[in-house]
């Protein structure tokens, strides 16, 4: 707006008799500024942000207070200003900072806040303005949003929708643009009844454009009486049907209508048009978690084979983080049967469906969801666990851990190589899971990996691995484990680790290790307390190995002149007796 126009407006405002007091206009201005601030805050932060919540609450309360104190307040919207009683309240600071613009653009010329306005109504007003100032290319305009909101204490003054016809290149010579464009019926003046024409009675049995008609009845009144008598029943039935129809989700309805259209003698051209519509249904179904509808849409699209449809692009869309987040959000609130429908859809997607559910598994926050997805992945990859190999290189530890977990469910020799890869993962949590999964592999195959897992393992994992290694006797493993006892820092290991080592020696060792254990039993001096504990543990190992050779070593030790050796052997043998 030009400066001259502003001055004209100001002059007009001054010359006009004022209806509201200065205090009222000032208060109205304060509220509109608060409204503008609230909008800005809402655009900056999430809806749940405490500041946003507070601003909105305060704006609603302020509207109630304003109208309670000053009565109805009417705001007028111009292209670049909000006025009240002709006074400028919130002129635009720039093109981008123009509070009045969205109102004026959409045809809202003013609104009146009536006393009793509810904070919820103000909230709806705020939401509506936010909706039309975001990315809403195809959404409703502000007038429609506010009309639909039907706010009882906010009267909206808007200009009617434009009802002109413009920009019609086909119109020639200033004639009726519609005439040249539309094949719709135009009256033929020659066929119209002239005042003097003989009037042919309009009897039934002929057509009326697109309706084929039957005969007449004369008794309209009687027919209506009959209808009226049944009206309460019929209207009730009609409303029930209406309600039931509108309980169906839009996605289901869209799919059903599209299917009906396809069955209505659709031509190839129609089918191509509907093939352009169905991907929208598919995307809509995916966004709301309507998996059966998505499955049906996908099958329908494939049946139509539209040229513009690309499976590759569709799969890429599915894999987008934002899509995955939405899918997971839905899955995490769905029941197991709904998740099963999702899994069925993933099968329809094809091989990429496996990656899709794996991504969902990785992001899911709910145990039940993860369990169902993982079981499904395991089942799908049972014959080909190699399919999961790419996921083992994922940078996210929890993704790899999940995959290792699934590999454990699959079990068997084929997963050993994959677990070997996973064992290189720097994250302990992954390696711990690898060890757990190795329990599902034959020990003979798992042993090399378990032994490798001991390298640098933290105490808990160290104990777990040794526990697993203890499942069967193995001379090589026994020597490997025994070697831990010979390490100079063995005594500095935690008691749990040391206990695990002795237990493992007892479990996997045999006669081949007895000479070394005898030497350990006998060595040491009088003053080394740690040696005594070690001696007792070695004696217990020999007892648990339990072979005649081991037993013979202990028997000999009971005859030792050195009291600690003798006591260790005697106690070990006694424990055997006690156990017996």
């Amino acid at each position: 707006m030009t400066a001259s126009a502003r001055s004209v407006r100001a002059a007009e405002a001054e010359s006009r008799p004022r209806e509201l007091s200065d205090a009222t206009v000032k208060a109205a201005g304060g509220w509109i500024s608060q409204f503008a601030r609230t909008l800005k805050t809402c655009r900056l932060y999430d809806a749940g942000n405490p500041t946003v919540v507070r601003f909105r609450d305060e704006l609603g309360a302020a509207a109630t207070a304003l109208t309670g104190e000053h009565g109805p307040i009417t705001y007028r919207f111009e292209a670049d200003d909000v006025t009240c009683d002709g006074q400028s309240l919130h002129p635009a600071r720039s093109r981008d900072d123009n509070f009045a613009y969205p109102f004026h653009r959409d045809g809202v010329r003013g609104f009146t806040l009536q006393p009793g306005v509810d904070p919820r109504e103000v909230g709806t007003l705020v939401d509506s303005v936010l909706a039309v100032t975001g990315a809403n290319l195809d959404a409703d305009d502000l007038v429609t949003l506010l009309w639909e909101a039907n706010l009882p204490h906010v009267d909206i003054d808007f200009i009617p929708a434009q009802g002109d016809v413009g920009g019609d290149p086909a119109a020639q010579g200033g004639g009726d643009p519609a005439a040249s464009l539309l094949p719709w019926p135009e009256p033929d003046p020659d066929d119209e009844a002239k005042p003097g024409d003989a009037v042919a009675p309009a009897t039934g049995g002929d057509r009326s454009e697109d309706w084929l008609l039957g005969g007449l009845t004369v008794e309209v009144e009687a027919a209506f009486v009959e209808l009226d008598a049944l009206a309460s029943v019929e209207v009730g039935r009609f409303l029930r049907e209406f309600t039931e129809e509108h309980l169906v989700s839009p996605i289901r309805a869209a799919l059903a209508i599209a299917t009906a259209c396809l069955n209505a003698n659709a031509t190839d051209e129609d089918r191509q048009e509907l093939a352009r519509f169905l991907p929208r249904v598919l995307r809509g179904a995916l966004s709301v978690g309507a998996w059966p509808e998505a499955l049906e849409s996908l099958r329908a699209i494939r049946g139509l084979r539209p040229p513009q449809w690309s499976e590759e692009t569709f799969v890429q869309e599915l894999m987008q983080p934002v899509s995955i987040a939405r899918v997971v959000e839905r899955l995490d609130e769905q029941e197991p049967d709904e998740i099963a429908a999702y899994l069925a859809l993933s099968l329809e997607v094809g091989d990429a469906g496996l990656d899709w559910i794996t991504l969902a598994l990785c992001e899911s926050q709910r145990r039940v969801t993860r369990q169902l997805l993982a079981e499904f992945i395991a089942e799908r990859c049972r014959d080909n666990p190699e399919r999961l190999a790419p996921w083992l290189a994922d940078g996210r530890w929890y993704v790899v851990r999940n995959i290792v977990h699934i590999l454990g469910w699959i079990g068997g020799p084929p997963i050993v190589g994959l677990l070997q890869v996973a064992l290189r993962n720097p994250d302990t949590r992954v390696r711990t899971q690898v060890v757990a999964s190795l329990s599902q592999v034959e020990l003979r195959l798992a042993r090399p990996l378990l032994i490798r897992a001991l390298d640098g393992a933290e105490p808990r994992l160290f104990c777990t691995v040794l526990g697993q290694l203890s499942a069967a006797r193995d001379p090589a493993t026994a020597r490997f484990v025994y070697a831990f006892t010979q390490h100079e820092r063995f005594a500095q290991r935690s008691p749990e680790e040391r206990r695990a080592v002795y237990a493992a020696i007892a479990s996997v060792g045999g006669d081949e290790l007895v000479p070394e254990l005898e030497a350990e039993l006998l060595k040491g001096n009088w003053f080394d307390r740690e040696t005594e504990i070690h001696r007792h543990n070695i004696a217990r190992c020999l007892v648990r190995i339990g072979t005649p050779t081991a037993r013979a070593v202990l028997e000999r030790a009971t005859q030792s002149k050195r009291t600690p050796v003798r006591q260790a052997a005697q106690m070990a043998l006694a424990s055997l007796g006690g156990a017996a």
Binding site: M1, H104, D138, D140, D141, T144, W147, E148, N150, P160, A161, Q162, G163, D164, V165, G166, G167, D168, P169, A171, G173, G174, P177, A178, L182, P183, W184, P185, E186, P187, E192, D197, V199, A202, G204, D206, E209, D210, L213, G214, T217, V220, E221, F224, D228, L230, E234, V235, F238, L239, F242, E245, A253, C261, N265, D270, E273, L274, R280, G284
Partner: protein, 481 residues
């Protein structure tokens, strides 16, 4: 501004001039919207317009075309909006409203060059910011023989507000006319845009039906009466609006919620979009259609549904409209078309739209009828053997909406009056709002002071419905007035 007392001759000439001027002005603005003022098409229209101005200047000192309270006046004489003029009437009013002007004043010295400059400025003022500066811009462009009359001057007596606040039948009818014709013009825009873009503008359609819903929710049924006008110049669009209005009214009688009424209105407005794909010669064919032509005709529901499928989103209103397009000829007893080869029933909203469509189509003034069926004959047809095609609840709602004697019906009452039904009475379907045409003594109320029954008094009742050949009255003109 009031109806000026004129000698009959002066008044008659002004009325005739008013109609011509309005048609020319409307054609000129329409051309200016498409063409530059230097274009031959515009120049031709401008010469025609200037010619009319010159004719008026021969008998008048100035030409003042102003809009007051839903009517246009030429030098104080009201221009009556008969059916052939309604398009131009309401387009001009809409043009004035958008530019915040109450009217235009032309002085005798006006020349084509000045008219040309004026239209350049006037058309640009469609932008509301420029509209505010229109008087200043005209002065800057040295336009001295054409002036805009500010709307505020004409609202000095606050006529519009008075009408809005007082629910008098007259005010209600004025509001209804405004809403109805805006909807017709808006529908024209939607249909033409759909033709150009391949899909209708849902936002615009929603905006058009909202005031209709508001009217009907306030139990103002005058707008239902306007559906009987059957303007054949704008058949395409009035039919769409009629179906929307009738559907909304029927939905309200059935107890549908406000939002559903709006969605229903949109469905009604868009239900026949598929006809854009049917050749005009088939649609206009005066004889019975051949089998091949029926195949073509039977495709329009699907064509319409496909066209709506091109609209973005998957909103409820869009799906309702798509379904109404597809199903509005299916019939409640599944005897219609298209056959979708499924266990598929007509949706509730589609049943309403189908009913409204059928009622409006069979009472339309079409080329293949020697004379149009009256709305009463339309009801006779629907309540006869055809009733099995429709949901009984919906058929009931139709009669509740239009009354037993729908607008446009001319009937003789028991008291001997001949009356034209103007709008339905929601409280009693047998007693519509009427305009008295002939009193029992054979006299007629003067045209300037029409006698209205709002509604027909309780002591009277319909005695006999008159067929068109029993009277020489054009009910549409009465409805449009």
């Amino acid at each position: 501004v009031s109806d000026r007392a004129e000698t009959p001759r002066e008044g008659e000439s002004l009325v005739a001039f008013g109609e011509t001027l309005l048609l020319r002005l409307s054609a000129l603005t329409r051309t200016a919207r498409t063409y530059d003022v230097s274009n031959q098409a515009f120049q031709r229209q401008m010469q025609e317009f200037h010619g009319v101005l010159r004719q008026i200047f021969e008998v008048e000192d100035e030409v003042a075309l102003v809009m007051v309270s839903d009517y246009l006046y030429l030098n104080g004489m009201r221009i009556k909006g008969h059916t052939g003029l309604l398009g131009a009437y309401h387009a001009t009013m809409a043009d004035f409203e958008r530019r915040h002007v109450g009217g235009l004043r032309f002085l005798p010295a006006v020349e084509p060059a000045e008219i040309e400059r004026f239209f350049q400025v006037f058309m640009a003022a469609e932008d509301s910011v420029l509209a505010e500066r229109l008087p200043e811009t005209l002065a800057e462009a040295a336009i001295v023989n054409i002036a805009v009359v500010p709307a505020s001057e004409l609202e000095a007596e606050d006529l519009t507000r008075e009408l809005a606040e007082k629910p008098t039948p007259k005010g209600e009818r004025a509001r209804a006319r405004k809403v109805f014709w805006r909807a017709v013009l808006g529908t024209k825009k939607i249909v033409l845009r759909a033709r150009q873009n391949g899909r209708p503008d849902l936002r615009q359609a929603k905006r058009l039906v909202q005031p209709v819903v508001d009217n009907i929710m306030k139990h103002e049924y005058s707008i239902v009466g306007l559906t009987a006008i059957k303007d054949h110049d704008e058949y395409t669009y009035t039919h769409c609006v009629n179906v929307a209005v009738l559907s909304i009214s029927m939905g309200q009688h059935l107890g549908l919620p406000r939002q559903a009424l709006a969605d229903l209105g949109v469905s009604g407005l868009l239900h026949d979009l598929g006809k854009m794909s049917i050749p005009g010669e088939v649609l206009r064919k005066p004889d019975a259609l051949s089998a091949e032509e029926w195949v073509m005709m039977r495709r329009h529901p699907l064509e319409g549904a496909v066209m709506i499928a091109r609209m973005p989103g998957l909103s409820t209103v869009m799906l309702d409209a798509m379904r109404a397009c597809l199903e509005h000829h299916m019939n409640y007893n599944r005897t219609g078309y298209p056959d979708v080869e499924l266990d598929w029933g007509q949706a509730t909203m589609s049943r309403i739209v189908a009913m409204a469509d059928c009622f409006d189509a069979i009472t339309a003034h079409r080329a293949y009828h020697k004379r149009p069926r009256t709305p009463f004959e339309g009801l006779q047809l629907l309540l006869g053997p055809n009733r099995v095609n429709f949901d009984p609840a919906v058929l009931w709602a139709l009669v509740r909406s239009v009354g037993l004697y729908p607008a446009g019906t001319v009937l003789q009452t028991a008291s001997g009056h001949v009356v034209a039904c103007i709008s339905p009475n929601p409280n009693d379907v047998t007693r519509p709002h009427c305009r008295v045409l002939v009193r029992p003594d054979g006299t007629s109320p003067p045209e300037e002071e029409p006698e209205h029954w709002d509604p027909m008094p309780e002591h009277d009742h319909a005695h006999r419905v008159l067929l068109p050949d029993e009277h020489k009255i054009d009910p549409a003109s009465l409805l449009a007035a």
